[in-house]
C-alpha cells in the first residue's frame, strides 16, 4: 500500500512521530476495529480512531440518538436525534475522514451474533453501558482470542484495562461476576459527567492505536482508575485469576451465556 499525497498531508503530524512513520500509518489504514456502543465511550473513541485513519471501523448499537445523549456522546448532532446512532456515527466519521470504511451494525449484540461480528476485526473496544453486554463481550473475546479494550464509567469514576486473551488478565479475572440486577445503577439513573466518558473513551482509542502500531506498553495486567473529582489517575495491578470462570485453570464458561433476560430486566429499571 502506498500513501497518497493527500494522505501524507492529512496524517503528517503522526507520520513524523518516531515509531510511527509511513509504515505505522499503513498499519493504521489496514487495521479493523470494532466498537461496541456509540455512546459516551464509543463516541470519542470512534472520532479519534477515525481521524487517525483506522481503515475499517465497525460500530454496534441498537439505539437511536436522543437529545439527552448529546451532553456526552459527541459524535452525534442535533440533526441526528431520532436516527440510529450507528448511522449518525458513520456520517460523522466520514465527514472527517473518507479513508475510513465504517460498518454500522444496527442491532443488539447477543450470544447468537457476537462471535460472527467480532471475527472480522483485529481488536474490540467495549463502550457498552450495561453489565450483561460487558461480560458477553469479554467472554466472546476471550473464547475467540480477540484483543479487547475495556472501559467503564460511573458518575465521576472511570476505569480502563486492555485484555490480550491467553496472555493478560480478562474482565472476569478482575471481577469474576457482574453484580446482581438493581444493585448498581446505570448511567441513566446515576448520571455521568460527559468529560469523564471522554477521558476514558480516548484512553481506549489510545490503547487501540498503540496495539495496532505495536508501540509502547498497553494497559495489560493493569487497571487504570481515573477519579475525576481530584483528577487522579492510578494504576492497580491485575493478575490472571487462577479461578477465573472464563480464562482460569478450569473454566466453567466454555460457551457464551445469554444474559438477555437479565439485560431486559435491567433496561426496564433504567427507563424509570
Amino acid at each position: 500500500m502506498k500513501l497518497r499525497e493527500e494522505q501524507i498531508e492529512r496524517y503528517s503530524r503522526q507520520i513524523i512521530l518516531p515509531n510511527v512513520g509511513g509504515k505505522g500509518q499503513e498499519k493504521l489504514l489496514n487495521a479493523k476495529v470494532l466498537i461496541v456502543g456509540a455512546g459516551g465511550l464509543g463516541s470519542p473513541c470512534a472520532l479519534y480512531l477515525g481521524a487517525a485513519g483506522i481503515g475499517k471501523i465497525g460500530i454496534v448499537d441498537s439505539d437511536a440518538v436522543e437529545l439527552n445523549n448529546l451532553q456526552r456522546q459527541v459524535i452525534h448532532s442535533m440533526k441526528d436525534v431520532g436516527r440510529p446512532k450507528v448511522e449518525s456515527a458513520r456520517d460523522r466519521i466520514n465527514a472527517i475522514n473518507q479513508d475510513v470504511e465504517v460498518i454500522p451494525y444496527h442491532l443488539r449484540i447477543t450470544s447468537e451474533n457476537i462471535l460472527d461480528i467480532i471475527k472480522d476485526y483485529d481488536i474490540v473496544v467495549d463502550g457498552s453501558d450495561n453489565f450483561p453486554t460487558r461480560y458477553l463481550v469479554n467472554d466472546a473475546c476471550v473464547l475467540s482470542k480477540k484483543p479487547l479494550s475495556h472501559g467503564g464509567i460511573f458518575r465521576f469514576d472511570g476505569q480502563a484495562m486492555t485484555i490480550i486473551p491467553g496472555e493478560s488478565p480478562c474482565l472476569r479475572c478482575l471481577f469474576p461476576e457482574p453484580p446482581p440486577p438493581g444493585l448498581v445503577p446505570g448511567c441513566q439513573e446515576a448520571g455521568i459527567l460527559g468529560a469523564v466518558a471522554g477521558a476514558i473513551g480516548i484512553i481506549q482509542a489510545n490503547e487501540v492505536l498503540k496495539y495496532v502500531l505495536g508501540i509502547g506498553e498497553l494497559l495489560t495486567g493493569k487497571l487504570l482508575v481515573f477519579s475525576a473529582l481530584d483528577s487522579s489517575f492510578r494504576q492497580l495491578k491485575v493478575s490472571r485469576y487462577p479461578k477465573c470462570p472464563v480464562c482460569g485453570e478450569s473454566p466453567e464458561i466454555t460457551k457464551l451465556i445469554d444474559y438477555e433476560e437479565f439485560c431486559s430486566l435491567q433496561r426496564k429499571d433504567e427507563k424509570v
Binding site: 465511550l41 453489565f131 460511573f154 469514576d157 471481577f175 448498581v184 492510578r234 494504576q235 492497580l236 493478575s239
Partner: protein, 91 residues
Amino acid sequence: MSIRVRIPTVLQKLTQNRIEVEGEGKHVRELIENLEKEFPGMKERICDDAGRLRRFINIYVNEEDIRFLEMDLTPLEQGDEVSIIPAVAGG
C-alpha cells in the same frame, strides 16, 4: 495507625461525599469493621451476608489486589493506601 482509604463514587454517599477517608485496622477485615462504625452501611456494600468480599468489588492495598495477598486478613501498616474498586458498567 492511620490508613488512607479511597472511596469510589458509588459509596461516597456514605462518606458525605469524601473521596478519601482515614481508617484504622491491623488488617483489611478490621479496617472494614472500623469503617462500618464511622460510616454505617459500608460493610454490607462491600461484603455479602457471610462477610465475604463481593465478587464485583475488589480491595487493593497500595497497588495489590488482596485476593492475591491474604484476602481480608491482609495486614495493613501505617501510611498504606487502601482502594475500594467496584465494577463499573456505564458507557
